[in-house]
Amino acid sequence: MAGGEQRKTVIEAGGRNLQYWRDLWHYRGLAFHMARRDFSVRYKQTVIGLAWSLLNPLLNMLLLSLVFGTFAGFGQDSEVPYYVSVFAGVLPWTLFSRALTVASGTLLNNAHLMTKVYFPRLVSPLASAATALIDALISYLILFLLMGVNRYLPPARILLSFPLLLPIALLGTCLGLVIATMTVRFRDLNNLVPYLLQIGQYVTPVAFSMAELRERLGGGHPKLFAALYYGNPMTGLETAFKWAALRGEALDGKALALSFLWLAAVAAFALLRFRKVERTFVDIV
């Protein structure tokens, strides 16, 4: 009890960053327990349990296949059935949007906890991101099932898609954190998140590839294309994921590099903002 590691904690306005990261490490167990809580709560008292986390990407796949494939005629010349390639796009997008959603609600949804006990506030969005990551891994089962049913052998580089999940989850989390810091003062922003993600799903190469889109546009709307290419942080990561998971897709190194630049910028901004807001947000909620 007394004795042992008698570490000093300094509490003052502005705080100490080193101390914060040390605490974050100390509370890693809490992140684990929070993630586990989210899982066990989700699967207790639900009849189809696990299936819930799969249903969402499946329905999305159906919708996008209908809109882009059947209505707009995308993906006519791909060697894999179009809906399989759409699912390969939906999987990372679902991870991104889940990570973003939970991170954006982290301060308000956990306010009851955060007004009563201290822990580095980053623990909670990180735990949620971990849950989203595990959901994504479960979705791979569906992807492999769909591929198997169509006797499609994915390229060996599909293994590269696993490490890609990390920056995708991180990007979603960081964007979510930026929103979280704003929702403390303007709660209504939370209602916007589903709409933004809905839009994002259609302007990100989830159900199409950028190459195919460029071809379709035939050089028209160059500004629109550039906006989607340079202005959407998810473009490069989506493209890279589909390249890894499917044969015949090309790797766009420039787009991927752009995504990582975006990630670095968003992460830096998110951390600065979040650290600033988390110090005293309890006074406002």
Binding site: I11, G29, Q45
Partner: protein
């Protein structure tokens, strides 16, 4: 001398309160039309954004300097709004101070609420681990103490049942059991003991005392002076965000109680909350406490008050006043006036009463007044009552040695003296 484990220097915490001007009136004046309300809200928000700098500052704490040594058990007392909770929030790092600096040595755990983060769907066991992690315990630590926690909580075989099926008593016991086994270097407790039955409360207090005896430093906030007396070795009294006293427990409690000012002597009863079973034939409207400025009474001094009440119809039964006396632990006693009016005409009335509190031990009390008809032999029917109606303080008897000391655990009634019948050889 033990080393200092908490050192605070010039600590202050400022809150911003928005002082809302014109647009607020607009919000209420425009009637109930939903659209105009929404418009007003938008206008309000814009106003707030534009005039963000015109917010008023409110210092919940200012210039707090403290040194607390290892093993001390410090009671923090003060009226509501004195800054007690803010101080605990700063110490437990829930929010940051606006100015100043606090240095803590060792691990600090805070119990500002029992069962923080408990999830109803999870079992008792799962919640123990989750709650432990929230309180900053490592898994190995919880593993090691799980048996002790289970035993302390008396949950037994229900540990693997979802917490939502627990009785509230079981829930609280389990939650406190986790918190009580944290073994931090500094423990911060905010009145969480106001839960559970009396036996469990005592068990919690004993556990906290045991923790303190093990060299843990305890900071304890409470309005319950009895537990402060029982546990603490030092008292810090806060008032309006500043330390007004720091030292001996009895003296601190006296300071806190003598602060007086908060005791009203002219009380408007019309806006107070009421039970819904009242007949509504008469309403108490105002209470004036006579012969006192601060509701602090000397020992055996009668409490005189003038009650204003309004009878809405003619009441043709004799009307009586009931006086219920409470202390911090609950009801102390009850008293009835004689039927002071055989019947009441509709309209406003006043009556002056004198309540002889001459068996009341020194301490703080509240009184609830009830107007009713009938008698106290089971036929009392209540016209109006307000819980509690007013608060007062009784001081100890003055003797040649100074003011009489009365321990809270002796009860609140000074019984009549024991009479000597005869002495033997």
């Amino acid at each position: 001398m033990e080393p200092v484990v908490i050192r605070a220097e010039g600590v202050g915490k400022r809150y911003r309160i928005s002082s809302l001007g014109r647009p607020e009136n607009a919000l209420t004046d425009r009637g109930s039309h939903a659209l105009s309300k929404a418009a007003a809200r938008v206008q309000q928000t814009l106003h707030n954004v534009i005039h963000a700098r015109k917010k008023e500052d409110f210092w919940a704490l200012r210039g707090i300097g403290l040194e607390i040594r290892r093993g001390e058990c410090v009671g923090i007392i003060g009226k509501n709004g004195a800054g007690k909770s803010t101080l605990l929030k700063l110490l437990s790092r829930i929010t940051e101070p606006t100015e100043g600096r606090i240095e803590l040595t060792g691990r600090l755990s805070a119990m500002l609420e029992v069962g923080t983060g408990f999830h109803p769907e999870l079992t008792g066991r799962e919640n123990v681990y989750l709650n432990g992690a929230i309180l900053g315990m490592r898994k190995t630590e919880i593993d090691a103490k799980f048996g002790a926690i289970l035993e302390f909580s008396e949950i037994g075989k229900f540990i693997d049942t979802p917490v939502k099926r627990y009785s509230s008593g079981m829930f609280v016991r389990l939650a406190f059991a986790v918190a009580a086994h944290m073994e931090p270097d500094i423990l911060v407790v905010d009145e969480v003991l106001a839960v559970g039955d009396a036996r469990f409360q005592k068990k919690c207090l004993d556990q906290m005392s045991a923790v303190a005896e093990n060299g843990c430093t305890v900071l304890y906030v409470s309005h319950n002076m009895a537990t402060i007396r029982q546990m603490c070795t030092r008292a810090i009294c806060l008032k309006e965000g500043r330390v007004i006293f720091d030292g001996d427990v009895e003296e601190g409690i006296r300071q806190y109680q003598a602060e007086g000012g908060a005791h009203e002597t002219d009380i408007d009863l019309t806006q107070r909350e009421r039970m819904d079973f009242l007949s509504g034939e008469a309403t108490m409207t105002r209470l004036e406490l006579l012969d006192t400025r601060d509701c602090v009474y000397a020992y055996e001094e009668p409490i005189r008050f003038r009650l204003h009440f309004c009878s809405h119809t003619e009441i043709d039964r004799p009307v009586t006043l009931r006086v219920e006396l409470h202390d911090s632990r609950g009801a102390v006693g009850m008293s009835y006036s004689e039927a002071f009016a055989p019947q009441l005409a509709a309209g406003n009335h006043t009556a002056v009463f004198s309540f002889a509190g001459h068996c009341l031990a020194p301490g703080s009390y509240t009184i609830a007044l009830g107007l009713g008809t009938g008698d106290n032999f089971g036929a009392f029917s209540t016209l109006d009552c307000v819980y509690p109606t007013f608060a007062f303080e009784v001081l100890g008897r003055e003797g040649p040695e100074g003011r009489e000391v009365w321990r809270a655990n002796w009860g609140s009634i000074h019984l009549p003296p024991c009479i000597l019948d005869k002495t033997g050889a």
